[in-house]
Symmetry: C2
Subunit: 304 residues, 2 copies
């Protein structure tokens, strides 16, 4: 059944309609928190949301997408979106209505209202994770989303946001994840001291990404490569003492605020402070770059 | 001599003055190109600009910063900026004037007008570079700047922008470099076919970062680590054939457009297409993430 045959598919054309305003309010954190709903905008994000939606339904869980608004042109161009939205309340809307609903000026013809998808911390930890990305006091929505996308690429088991971090359901954060928000478990509102205690109980090491760290990520990677490739002991390390952390072991990486880095109390919770080497004269790495290097280093050590 | 003692330090307070508008026009590409000038905004960026300015003067070259506009509060807070600006025409301005000049709503109290700093391609290639980042048809200013910052961190010898890429002097791009724009040589407006020919003449290998690449970056890194750590031949590679490119050799990485990646004609110019492994279910890596992983892999292989 195509959308145009559905009875509810009368085209929404009034950008000042109550329903449009209700959806648009989800750009604000208070409306999102109150309703437990957020917006996914654009074909890529909505496609991934619908995949996650169907997976949930197939497991007998509540669906993820509650409403879908799209232009006819968008559904004509991406027929898989319509096909994937069976059972989701769907309305055809004008571009003007979609622009009024969405946070972006151009939502590329489609907006989905989704239920919050964060998981309880215990559920994530009980699943035996090997690689976790923990964002402490990260404030920029684009960074929060970019790190999540990088964590997904690196095969992290979950991304955990401290209570003091930006809301991952912020529309800009959702966009920055490029659909990865729907790929791996996310935990929000976490107290990092509590998290650190639980990691310790479970044998998950905590590494703090810290420009002033005493351990050098390159040395940890060399030691890991030496083990993997069967080089004899620490001989490959030019006689230096072998680093004191095995990157292949279960690890939670702590990443700090964009401007200040990790706070002293956050650093104190970590087992080791690890510096990403800066070979050139950059003053520092941006958060996304540092997180990428750290998470990929762990992923390589754990997977090969 | 403090700023307040200078005769020219009468405070600029009219945001509609001609001079303010002239500076503000540098937010646009045509005004920048016509004058060969661009804006650095905020203490971090201006500090790095002034360092580069003094280095040029000490080499007997023309200075980089032509004018400096700052609030008294900013100069009081960062006295090293005033101290580093000797010989630069400097004016104290109100926050309102600075906001009118700058691209950002909040330029953090300081704006510098700088001369274009890109270098000729031949100069960069004749210096015997070992690691180059080449951006082909990159359109987002934030990405263009973020890759430059990552290239600086990875110790790249230069960053090269194709003629079809976004203008690196765009204020958002300048901001995204976090001062790295002033650290390493930048080449703009390059024809990538011409660049590829010159790289070939000089024995610089071209690697295309390409999600569909036949070479896997992990395998190249393992082979490099095996060489470095003295593992015997390719034994560490589980009997697989050793990869056909040595990451430690002089390399130009080609990075493509954010949405489409590298064009077929750009891929055809490369010696190898190299895929960054995606361990999780991310559909792709964002440009900054992919460039970070590739450049750091080369840097590690070249430096250790």
């Amino acid at each position: 059944m195509s959308f145009s045959e559905r009875p509810q598919a009368a085209i929404m054309s009034n950008p000042r309609a109550d329903r449009v305003r209700d959806v648009a309010r989800l750009a604000g954190r208070s409306a999102r928190s109150r309703q437990g709903l957020f917006l996914a905008e654009g074909p890529q994000s909505v496609r991934e949301a619908l995949v996650a939606h169907r997976e949930r339904l197939s497991r007998g869980e509540e669906g993820l997408v509650t409403e879908l608004y799209a232009s006819q042109a968008c559904l004509d161009r991406y027929p898989e979106l319509a096909a994937g939205a069976e059972g989701v309340r769907t309305r055809i809307a004008t571009d003007e209505v979609l622009a009024a609903m969405a946070d972006t000026v151009n939502p590329q013809g489609i907006v989905a209202v989704c239920r919050f998808l964060d998981r309880p911390l215990d559920e994530v930890l009980d699943a035996g994770p090997r690689l976790l990305a923990v964002l402490c006091q990260v404030r920029d929505p684009g960074n929060a989303g970019t790190v999540l996308r990088a964590a997904d690429a690196a095969g992290a088991d979950a991304v955990i946001y401290s209570g003091s971090s930006v809301d991952i359901y912020n529309p800009k954060a959702v966009r920055s994840t490029a659909g990865s928000l729907f790929h791996l478990p996310v935990v929000t509102g976490v107290d990092v001291a509590d998290l650190a205690a639980r990691c310790a109980e479970r044998g998950i090491g905590i590494l703090a990404a810290d420009g002033y760290g005493s351990l050098d990520l390159d040395e940890l990677q060399d030691a890991s490569a030496a083990r993997r490739l069967g080089a004899s002991g620490s001989a490959g390390l030019d006689g230096e003492q072998a680093p004191s952390y095995d990157l292949a072991s279960p690890t939670a990486w702590f990443f700090g605020n964009e401007a200040q880095g990790l706070a002293p109390e956050e650093l104190a919770l970590s087992d080791h402070r690890v510096a990403v080497p800066v070979y050139g004269s950059a003053e520092s790495l941006n958060l996304g770059t540092a997180a990428t290097v750290c998470l990929y280093a762990s992923a390589r050590a754990q997977r090969r």
